[in-house]
């Protein structure tokens, strides 16, 4: 009898401590994350202009209806989706390939990891400034591509042509983050115990079979982690597109949702509509994440 009571009170005590440890973080999120998003949700129901001193008009879901009918907003969705898929798929595939290649080398592993990761260390503003010069018609971009394709003097219009400018933003993002995800995959690969491979060898498996039937499935949690993080990052991209448009690139092809939100609020002063866009982006992000989780239920992996 007394034993049960004492273990119960230990549980209670531990539970309380759990709350104490979590509390500061929860309070912070309430003030700086939950309150603002609810505020944004509230604002999105009004017609509010940033400079106006008059109280805003309540218009319910009109902002949302306008956005869903607006070709400009659908262009932003298109730009964001194209950018996300065009970036995160190559990121996923190549970082896995790089990780495998690096791990197969006996030397220079650290060198490659550091080298591949180094662009992620630079700030996005620095990256944008460097690539703006590379993509200048007279810059390295044209020089190298012309060298490889043997087409001297051709301007590939990295920042001018609508298709090229989208690819340029994807290239910059890929360059910046492929090393980061390579390292994550390397950690994932390293956590697969050698014993499994040894057992498979005894059973007569070769490298290709190893990869397909052992490595890939065991990498699933890492792959999901990489997908979700890289995708969320892509959906939130801002600096590269912002700085490219400031540097002269056309807005329409790369007017991703975040950039549209920024301009709608800051240039057009329409804070109600910008808030509605933010809520829609939030919903899109939650949707993508949920889909990813659903399509692959593995969370813990046991060997």
């Amino acid at each position: 009898m007394s034993k049960r009571i004492s273990s119960y009170s230990i549980e209670r005590k531990k539970a309380r401590w759990g709350w104490i440890f979590v509390a500061p973080t929860l309070i912070f999120f309430s003030v700086f994350s939950f309150y603002p998003i609810f505020n944004a949700l509230y604002t999105s129901l009004f017609r509010k202009k940033l400079l106006s001193l008059k109280p805003p008009d309540f218009i319910g879901l009109d902002n949302y209806i306008y956005l869903l009918k607006s070709p400009d907003f659908w262009n932003s969705i298109r730009a964001t989706v194209v950018f996300t898929l065009g970036t995160f798929l190559p990121l996923l595939i190549f970082s896995l390939i790089f990780a495998i290649f690096i791990m197969s080398r006996k030397r220079f592993q650290n060198f490659f990891q550091i080298a591949y990761y180094s662009p992620a260390v630079l700030s996005s503003v620095v990256a944008a400034v460097i690539w703006l010069l590379i993509f200048d018609p007279r810059g390295l971009g044209n020089q190298w591509l012309n060298l490889i394709m043997n087409t001297p003097g051709i301007d590939h219009k990295w920042l001018a042509n609508s298709v090229m400018v989208q690819m340029s933003t994807m290239l910059v993002y890929f360059w910046k983050y492929v090393g980061y995800f390579t390292i994550i995959f390397i950690v994932g690969l390293a956590s697969i115990p050698q014993s499994i491979y040894e057992a498979a060898k005894i059973d007569g498996a070769n490298n290709w079979k190893n990869f397909w039937y052992i490595t890939l499935p065991l990498l699933k949690p890492t792959t999901i982690l990489v997908s979700i993080i890289s995708m969320l990052q892509c959906l939130r991209t801002f600096s590269t597109q912002y700085l490219f448009t400031q540097g002269g690139a056309p807005l329409a092809p790369i007017n991703v949702i975040t950039l549209n939100i920024y301009y709608t609020a800051i240039r057009d002063h329409r804070i109600g509509r910008a808030s509605a866009m933010s809520i829609i982006l939030f919903i899109i992000m939650m949707l993508f994440t949920w889909v990813q989780f659903k399509s692959s239920r593995a969370d813990e992996i046991s060997y």
Partner: protein, 424 residues
Amino acid sequence: MKKLFTIFIFVLLLSMTVNSVTAMEITFWTHEDPNRTEIEDRYIAEFEQANPGVTIKRVTNASGKIIELILTAFAANQGPDIFNMSIEDEYAYIVNERLAPVDFEAAGYPSLQAVYDAYIPGVLDPVTYKGQLYGLPLELTNWCIFINKKVFKDAGLDPEKDYPKTWEEMVEVSDKLCIREGEILNRRGFDFRYPYYLVAMVPMVEQLGGQLISDDGKTAIVNDEAWLKFLKFMQEWGPSGRNLGSPTYTNARKLFNMDNNDIGMCHTGLYQIGRINADNPAFYDSKEWMIVPFPVFEDAVKDVPAAYYGHYYMVNGQKPKENQQMAWKFIAYMLSHSEEYLTKVNIVQPTVELMSSETYKSMPYSDVFTNDMAKGHIVYYGENSAKIQSHIREAVESVMLAGVSPEDALKTLRRKVQEVLDEG
């Protein structure tokens, strides 16, 4: 010990209250311009000496950034005391009643009418709203064409005779001045002042008989033919046409001063002269540059030069009355130095006194600017001018860079600008 402590606290509190009574801080946000910063810092020092207890904090930002900064500050009701932007960006603040009207007494005028009389007729109209005056001009600027004579001579042309007078000539002359490596331009002739479509490009449409907005302010895009001709012209100019320039190259006016044989002409204002002198005195002294008027289309129906725009000093209406008064007093003090603004910064304050002065008349090429300004009109300003400008930008970019047909681009432009007008 305790007594000492309480006395100390008392003195501290007293000193704090005394300070807050006599100390007034006026925050002054403006855009960067090293020549103007120099003289205005001096005016600040002189004013602070003549008005003890007042400190003026001057902050500069790049002209693009300052629009956002002032907006976010005002949105939080924390705007600066004094600020200036181009009128098409400032107008929204007037309409939303964020500003303090000009305190003519503090500014040293006997009456409001005296203020109007001191300035050229019409220049204070953009800042007059519901019978009140809300700003005093820091500058009224228009842009003309600057020419690098060396580049002309290098291409075998005579700048005095062969400079372009029509847009068609501009195309041919630029083409002769271009040095290309394949498709890549190493030297351009002329290139447009790209982000500023309302100032630099709408007048081109007006030359052909078109209008951005109908006279009654209700309809967007008047005279399709004029607009189509303009859009076709820009398409021809860009990479898919004659390949004479594009928004993705470095801005022409940034390159002009350096005299690096990479640009022949640029489109900018009187203030550029002072900047050439500051950035590259050798180039300035060599006099290998000249200024010519804004070109006109061959079959133009109207002779319209580039629009002029103005920066007006304005005062935050949410600050206490004393701050507003002091702010207007300081603004008037600065603006009383019109001649120095002209000679040191090369910006023109459109006072009757200055425009008729010898100093102004004897500035090199001032006649080119004056003649063009007399023919021109002020840039379109309205509560939503920024958005309209971005739509024009999109239209031009889509025909130049994205291969959209001028007809489609015009349709989109009309729809979007009309929407802005209808929404209000």
